[in-house]
Amino acid sequence: MAEFNRRDFLKAGAVATTATAAACSYDYVVPQEKVLPYVVNPENVQPGLASYYASLCNGCATACGLVARNKDGRVVGVEGNPDHPSGPGLCTRGHFDLVATYGPDRVAGPSDGNAALSWDDANKRVADAITAATAAGKSVAWLGRYRSGSVAALLDVASARGIRRVNWEPLGVDALLAAARMSYQVDELPVYELAGAKTIVSFGYDFLHTAFGSMGMAKGWAKAKDPSHDGFVTRLVAIEPRLGQSSSQADHWLSAVPGTEQAVAAALARLCAEANGYAGPTLTLVNEADVPKIAAASGIAETKLREVAAWLTSGPSVVLPGGPSTAGAQAAHLAEATFLCNEVLGNVGRTVQFGRGSRPGHVSSYADVKSLLDDATAGKIGVLFLDGVDIVHLAPAGLDAAAALAQCDLVVQLANEPDDSSGAKTLLLPTGSGLEQWSDANTETGLHVLGQPAMVPLKDSRAVGDVLLGLVKALPAPPAAVPTDPAAPVVIDVATLAGAATTFADFLKARWLALVKPAEAEPTAWWRDVQAKGVFVHKVAPTSPVWTGGPVSELPAGPPAGDVALVLFAGHLAEGRWANVPWAQELPDPISTYFWTTWAELSPATAARLGLDEKDLVKITTDQGSIEVGWFGSPAVRDDVVAVIVGNGKKTGKYAKGRGANPYRLLSAEAGWYGSLPLSGARASITRVVGNSGVHALVGSMHQDGRSVAVNVNVDDAVNNLVGAAGSIVPIHHLPTDPRVEAAGPVDMYPEPQHPTYRFAMTIDANACNGCGACQIACAVENNTPFVGPDQLRKGRTMSWIRMDRFFEGKGENPDIRYLPVMCQHCAHAPCEGVCPVLATYHNLDGLNAMIYNRCVGTRYCANNCPYTARRFNYHSWEWPESYHLMLNPDLSTREMGVMEKCTFCVQRIRSAKDLHRDVAFAEREAGKPVNMRQNEVPDAELRKLTACAAACPTDAIVFGNWNDDKSSVVKKGTTPRAYTLFGELNTKSAVHYVARVNHNQPANVGHHGGGHGEDHGGAKPDADKGTHGADAHGAAHEEG
């Protein structure tokens, strides 16, 4: 047996062991399929080729631009619109909106809960109810999420014709807007230009995630963090009781006693005024702050506050307002105090810009919602329109929204699927997805975003605007003048436009032509151009408003009774809007890496005090009610705080129903100052409940235990290029090695692979990554990655091709939380390839670690041998509802049970890009040009954002390209001094290059130590919180391996 290689072995093995194989001696079997051509071919449609539509993201009120990719009649992917100021990149919510479009719970058409209705019948029922309500002296009311643009214009008209209108979101901007009115008499939010800020102080503002305008701020923040941009690295100081996703990026964490943040901000204003010699008109007001008293009450040392003031006054800075975790009763005053800080620092007009008219449309406060529901309970509301606000889920404990809705004669719910607010009197009118219907937005003066439909509606739905247009026409026109758009450069008569339009699409176009179009532009060509670009921008200059605010330095009257302060925060599900999107439920929370449920975050000290076991639940009780949830021991939560994630606890929805608990039920119905809903600050007590909570951390390690996975670099080293030459951050061995082995240097077991044209590679800038998860969800959508549900996730059977590693490397005031997206590293010397017995995985000429699914027999040797845990095994053929099949990307296979899969660097996109460039080469040759058919490489500009993760990344942290091309971005970024490869000591020669984070607490010159052993690259190594709880106590999370 001279040569008995492994394939012969397999042949022999197969023959010897498979008696059944004889019975299956066919080659393969395929179902007889049909070819169904069009009857009439639609214009510009070629089967198998994608069309792209510029549109508007309806995932939140910010209204970013997106580009929808339509393949064979359905949208299978979304990316950010580079023509929009929010630029390329699209956050998680844009992708969730795409998934929600294909949700299995979507109703087929209008329905009243018992029976399906035609739109004509439904409209008649609404009109009759309005007539009856008017006759009975009852109001018609609208309770909806924030709307801008043409829908808001129609709401203006409806409002002028007697509709009671409330636009409210629980994580909204009402407190911030109230503060802007008080401080500057302006009716808009400031735009924070973070890119130029050397110091950023945040009082809990979720500026990288759920805050209004977060995409722009995330981009600015990434620039401010980049040492090569303006030669500095911003310093982020977080002052809040619990570090959330945005503040997890902080260099410093000052946790004030909950409720004192506003006074701390006022104290900072005074200290800044002292430091920079401020002598402006608000000096008297600023000097009202009693710094020693505030320092004592807040628990932050005065010296620390002075240090922060010194940072703030040392260069351009920004003080950001509060977010959910600091949204107590005083939320509006906290925002006002931060405006005062910016006033003192001279930031207004520079990093804090007013005058751009930034606001998500009409904004009502929670107090308006409460008074509306109180009136409904009293039987004063005849017809109530609910537009995207699941008020029964969102209402605090003292506000019985279900009872209020039951007292209305008719509740018209504008939603695609029933939710907790759907009751006996609900008429459900499906308004379709933003990808199916016309929409527009105008969230800044002069910034107009057009949302054109990118596919034919899947269900019998009509746009919200169509319903509103019908409503406006059904209402009697008032004799007084109709309102006009206050932000418009020209005055237009919206009511007349609405009267002339038969559909919302007509109205929208007429409004754009009247309001947005420059006078000199030719309408047809201009409209075509706007549709192609998806956005039209008039430049607006910032203004410098004059401070008119009042005192802001009050301290709370002292901590009331109760155990801890309750803090609510939002994760991927936002306020609960995405609870019925299974991919959103499955996306692990950036901090805890929990999924599919509600949980509480406690400090390890609190957990120890309560004697909590990892499986236990905690019972959280306020004077309003109690919930029982699992817990996570986070070193980023104060000892006197319990933080609970919102979003779950719904009663309706295939994927939302019965998951976790509803923390809104812990809140009091009382509005805070200026009418906002206090999400935080309520006093609560927590007790241990023995049981099995079922929470589980997907990332099984709290720390990197001295290994160089997520590396930090000192700021001065980074800015001054003191890190060393490229490659000097050589990860050190974490295992002791023989000196003789070291002396021999790296030895390769494998021959060097050839990469004659491309060596596809990726550079991930960990310094720009904030763990938002956009890459993960974009990857899942692009690559048909299934969700597996909580039971399977607890077994470690995640199918996400990108894992977001999260490490708590800091302690106390120096948090140092690091994120690192890890996918297949496409090693040149891949440990997985050598162990595959059937050559299902191999290294190809483009440098890709290929994976051939129908060759794979599922031995899992490859996953066991992968040092990065980048491979995913299909333990089952994951099935999903039929409706999601329409979302599947036809460019690649779905995988089934027994098959290994992993990141492919989006090989289908690479294939498509190469294909188009080969076309160009052939066309040139046909035209008689001398063409070298090998010089048709895809240029860097196209490769740079080719993969789904790179295209989605809001901060440009992920860059893709050809490593053979020295001029490519991926090489430029991946060969800087801060670049390193993961587990480089294993000599896997991986294609993914990471760029080390830059941190203000990192000791200098850590990159220079070369090859020591057992040293810690990281900053302070925490021990105190180890072993109490968190993922450490949960043991290994990954089953594979």
Partner: protein
Amino acid sequence: MRQLTRATLAFALTMGVGIGLAAANAAETASDEETFTIGMKNLLPPALFDDNLVVTVGDPQAEAKPQPIAFTHERHVTTLGMDCNYCHSNARKGVHAGVPATSVCMGCHALIDTTDRPELVKLKDYWDKGAVIPWEKVHDLPDYVYFSHKRHVIAGLDCQECHGQVQDMTVNQRVSSLKMGWCLDCHAQHPSIDENYGTKAELRRAELKDCWTCHK
């Protein structure tokens, strides 16, 4: 080569059944999660579950399939002299060659007398009703295969190299096995590679043998 593939497939099948049984047990323990049904049927050959499936592969001279309209390529191409691209215009533009829309047929047939021509009456009926003509697929590649007509047409291949002498067929019929080995025979040595890539033909041949050229 062919035998090897068969043996590997058989091995994969056996492994698959083993894993399938193990997974069926696992599914029982996960039964509290009724939302996520877990199936094993996709792994096994569909013929085991569906009697209506037709075995189509293995015999290059597969039996011609009855079509909803007895369309003849011979008449259109040889007698009337029409170019393949007139109807299959997508072949040089996209991955799918495409069967023409009924409107393309009617471009001519609207002017052609249907008297005593029952097949043309069928066509007109489909058109009048606005109904889709449910053609039976003759050339069907597995769903995990990426095949671009455009690439092959632009590279200079004749339709007949894969589809046979279609211009002589009164009933369309597959003449090639469409199996992987058959594809690779050309990918290894087709003369168009040398013509198109010249001195770099060797590299191109190597690329064309990469699994990820076709497997998706």
